[in-house]
Amino acid sequence: MKYMDEFRDPAVAKEILKQIHAIVTQPWVIMEICGGQTHSIIRNGIDQLLPKKIELVHGPGCPVCVTPLEVIDRALVIASRPNVIFTSFGDMLRVPGSDKDLLMVKSEGGDVRIVYSPLEAVQIARENPDKEVVFFAVGFETTAPGNAMAIDTAHREGLSNFSELVSHVLVPPAMEALLSSPANRVQGYLAAGHVCTIMGWEEYEPIAEKYKVPIVPTGFEPVDVLEGILLVVKQLEVGEHKVENQYLRSVRRDGNHHAQKVISKIFQVKNQKWRGIGEIPVSGLGVRQEFSQYDAAKKFSVEDIQTNEPEECISGIVLQGLKKPHECPAFGTLCIPENPLGATMVSSEGACAAYYKYQRIRA
């Protein structure tokens, strides 16, 4: 077993689809949280194979897409400094800031480097003691363990030339914010399988109970997504609302303790701004006071950079599942992946990019 092909088997997908068709009696709106799931759904045309009564709306689960514009602007300022090596996951390089992106800083002579792990950034810091090495630490609960460990490692080794520009978001508070909004249409959630792999799913139980929504931690392969939808629909049809784990091969109820321990050693929960959405209470992580020397926003005094977002991009509404990407007037005209107006068109996990790539122009 390789845990891949088995979970992409069209025959299995077909049977699960049949079961979904067989049990649906009324219209339901289900949101998939994670951008990886959005990508899988659109690429495999899952939304079009489902009964018409089921509407899938795409959630805010793409870390690149929700990183606030002002954080990108702060990154651009730091990366332009002469003595800085600015390191980042590749997908942040083309995210537009107010007037440029990190790739443009690089072409203007900035030392901007792509890394695949924050530990590579720590290695660059070891090798360049006379330079300031900054890692762009963005993401959800899934990248937090790695980003925390990079700071922990730098601290252990006394690498005073390493720091992180941190913009970390937490999923459950955002799910709750969406549910409590008067405009909310979501009746059931596919929770993000890898976020739950780290944090477990106990946190979702009070949310499922309070808002009476089924929440199903779900994997990323097409069959996982379909099975997640089946589990949500089964609950909705009989009026249940509990947390039910689809992604059993990776998610344990209490998550990954080793990772949780390092996250809470280095980071603490704080209020956090989401691009296009605004501030959500207790929905982010920041560097703890004891480790503030590794906080690049403080080290480079960029905390006072605040930016308003451009009006033509409706990604905030898209990220809340209130509109589909093709309903944006700029979609496919002013805004395309090569020349994106908003972050949801940059990242391959962004809903706008997925719709564009797979030419999804109808709901």
């Binding site: 390789k2 088995e6 025959a11 049949k18 194979l49 996951f89 460990m149 344990r252 080793h258 390092v262």
Partner: protein
């Protein structure tokens, strides 16, 4: 950043005091940090996210899930079409690596 696919641990070693491993994704080997799955052994599968292994695939659970699905496969094998009678779409391999 988020498409963590499972890979098989083929080597475990120490690098700067941190447990690391080489992970095989159907022939492509890449390095990942194993500090968050210290219980893992060579030959086991793991999900890697942004350079860090975040879980050991639970073989027993995967088998159980798959056994349920086996029945679906048997049931559908003869037909090979989707619920609308169209052939099911072929998997786009390139995008998932």
């Amino acid at each position: 950043m988020c498409l963590g696919i499972p890979g098989k641990v083929v080597e475990i070693f120490d690098e700067n005091g941190t447990i690391m491993g080489n992970i095989d994704y159907a022939g492509t080997i890449s390095k990942a940090c194993l500090a968050y799955v210290p219980e893992i052994s060579i030959g086991e599968y793991t999900v890697v996210h942004a350079g860090f292994a975040i879980s050991v695939i639970n073989e027993e659970e995967a088998m159980k899930t798959y056994e349920v699905w086996e029945e679906f496969i048997q049931a559908a094998a003869s037909e090979g079409v989707d619920v609308y009678g169209n052939p099911l779409p072929k998997e786009d391999k390139e995008a998932s690596v």
